[in-house]
Assembly symmetry: C2
Homo-oligomer: 121 residues x 2
């Protein structure tokens, strides 16, 4: 059933940033609301948001779990939060030797920002 | 205790948009993370995000609860979600006669968008 005024977002993550309409211009469809709410929920915890900002602002745009664990919770809790951020599509990870490195997914960040009415920077 | 590289946000809501650093440029302080996480959490529910987008995209930038309750949940649940959005600072409300009208707080939306690395539109 089509709903005029509701803009469908594509399922391909790489294309999200290009077409995500600001909430001020069009109503989110039910499907898109489920997807985008999961991303906002991932940032809805103070420790998770701090970990995310630590990865995002780290030199080179990526961080090892060893760089970012000074947030006042145990290492397993840090790993749990990083997993949640990865599952929500906000971070990608890559193992290199002993350590796992985390990197922000810029197109997902851009999609969230655009949805909130900002322009892509 | 000051932490170099951590930018403090002011407590005054009207000033948030002007100084909110993108997560890619600076690490969020613990205090700011608590405040910003509460805003993201408010959008972390699909029904709440749809209600928010309905208010944001409604003609004139505001909506009566009577305009936006077709989201498949009961009217008390709609009211509960709108209250959560109001408590998080994302919506303001005003009673006019029989109805309460909701309006998006643009400076809060801009602060969230900027935090995610976008430019204010």
């Amino acid at each position: 059933m089509s709903n005029p005024g509701v803009v469908e977002l594509p399922l391909v993550q790489d294309e999200v940033a290009a077409c995500c309409p600001p909430v001020t211009s069009a109503e989110l469809s039910e499907t898109d609301a489920v997807r985008m709410a999961a991303m906002f929920k991932a940032l809805g915890d103070p420790v998770r948001l701090r970990l995310f900002s630590k990865v995002a602002s780290h030199a080179g745009g990526e961080a090892c779990v060893c760089d970012i664990q000074d947030v006042g919770v145990s290492q397993p809790t840090v790993s749990h939060h990083l997993k949640k951020l990865r599952e929500a599509g906000l971070l990608s990870s890559e193992r290199r030797g002993t350590w796992v490195y985390y990197r922000v997914e810029p197109q997902v960040l851009a999609a969230m920002s655009l949805l909130l009415g900002g322009s892509a920077s």
